[in-house]
Amino acid sequence: MGGGCEVDQARLSQALVDAVAVGGSEAALAVCRACVEWLPMTGASITMMTVAEVQEPVCATDAVSARIDELQFGLGDGPCVESFRTGRAVLVPDIADPSETRWPVFATAAAATGARGMFVFPLQVGGARIGVLDCYRDAPGPLDDEDLTGALRTADAAVWSLLDRTHPGDGRFGPAGALDGSALVRAEVHQATGMLMAQAGLDAPSALARLRAYSFSAGRTITEVADDVVARRLRLHPDGVWSDAATGNPSYGDTPSDDPVDSPSRDDEENPS
């Protein structure tokens, strides 16, 4: 399957890290391009969900991808709409298969686009849905294990790219490992997200974005910072200022305006003042 090509997971992961590091509004498209370059996909697109649960196209690698999304959201039917609505992955080996009866309205329209396999992954932070990654290919057939692993990693990277778009930080980037999805597998990252939600009155995506921005500005991994939050050594106040319980001092923030007297590096924190 997948054209018989082995997926180079290492190259894909590096491409995803580089794509997220692009930052801003270009990062999402870079993620989609990495997906098409390193996975057997013909095209990919990302649609964002706005606060009102309204969809907003973010980027597409080609005209067919854009058309597929447009058709689905126009008709209110199709795998992408379903994933958007349910927050679940929707994998369709062949949209043109007569036994595929889930989206009768869209299936007819899809035939004209040439897309066959359609694979949609929700982009979410726990229960908070922020969008979908929509991949298609022009040949029918299911994703094999390697394709699936790569697509899920692409979806993780897409989550970061959307968080950057909606919660822009100060443009500083930290450890490269923090740019892929790997931090999303750690329980303490999600526990810390919940604690920040309660501390600062944030929703889950905003809380995760703050955690990430802080880790970047501190030059530490997200997991390390999450450990500090869970151990109650570090907290985020409703006014957006972080404080470090160990020193009792306001810590340097993840945005320049947070703390005018922020410490330039972590070493300073450890020295008695």
Binding site: G126, G127, A128, L148, Q191, A192, M195, A198, Q199, D203
Partner: protein, 243 residues
């Protein structure tokens, strides 16, 4: 008069009848996993049990454990890199270590297990025809070689967990499996977030937050993941849970 084995037989019957009842109803897979881990403790006399699932990105993730104590979760989680669970998952075969002190296979794992007072560990695969989707991990605080009968019961419990993931009569099995696995992992993320919210609001430990969440879900007959979702999206007033 019931002998110990008759008592266990009765407990087994009760457990599997309850599991069958659950599987034909509308259940919460995380809640069911949590019950299975508890069953391992009560039926098999193990001291701790945990379920790990593949996230299909190349990692094993802890989705449920008989205790949410942070050190134990860490012990389960370490096995994403090294340990009996990972070996079990990769080889799709049971892995036994009845005496970790005499075992040289996983030095980091054995050291952390020892720190936590565990001396024996067994891992049983969650298999679905050609596919392995995770592993059930059983810990003992004394050197233990589980009997053939105990392993058979443990494997049956692992098989129930596998069936629970693939709940329904769907022909698109391969696609369905991914959809269900990812949904189960998402449920777990929401529960972790909700634990964090409650732990912070009530200034209580994370494992205590989980206990209260679960107790409230039970007493109000709602799904654990639905309640966790309501906690994280703010639609549930957490005050009653924190009194």
């Amino acid at each position: 008069m019931s002998t110990p084995s008759a008592a266990r037989e009765q407990a087994l019957v009760t457990t599997f009848v309850r599991l069958a009842d659950t599987l034909v109803a509308d259940y919460d897979v995380i809640e069911l996993f949590h019950g299975l881990c508890g069953d391992c403790v009560s039926l098999l006399g193990v001291d701790a049990a945990g379920l790990l699932l593949t996230d299909q990105r190349g990692n094993l993730q802890v989705v449920s454990a008989s205790t949410e104590a942070a050190n134990l979760v860490e012990l389960f989680q370490l096995q994403a890199e090294e340990g009996p669970c990972l070996d079990c998952f990769r080889t799709s075969a049971q892995v036994h270590a009845g005496d970790l002190a005499a075992d040289t296979r996983w030095p980091r794992f054995a050291a952390l297990a020892d720190d936590n007072g565990f001396t024996a560990v067994h891992a049983l695969p969650m298999r679905l025809r050609g596919e392995t989707i995770g592993a059930l991990n059983l810990f003992h605080r004394s050197r233990t070689d589980m009997s053939v009968d105990e392993l058979a019961i443990g494997q049956a419990l692992a098989d129930v967990a596998t069936i629970a993931i693939l709940s329904d009569r769907n022909t698109r099995e391969r696609e369905r499996l991914t959809e269900q696995l990812q949904a189960a992992l998402t449920s777990r993320v929401i529960i972790e977030q909700a634990k964090g919210v409650l732990a912070e609001r009530g200034q209580i430990p994370l494992d205590e937050a989980f206990s209260r969440l679960r107790a409230h879900a039970r007493s109000t007959q709602q799904r654990l993941s639905d309640l966790a979702r309501a906690v994280t999206d703010g639609s549930f007033d957490t005050a009653p849970l924190l009194r």
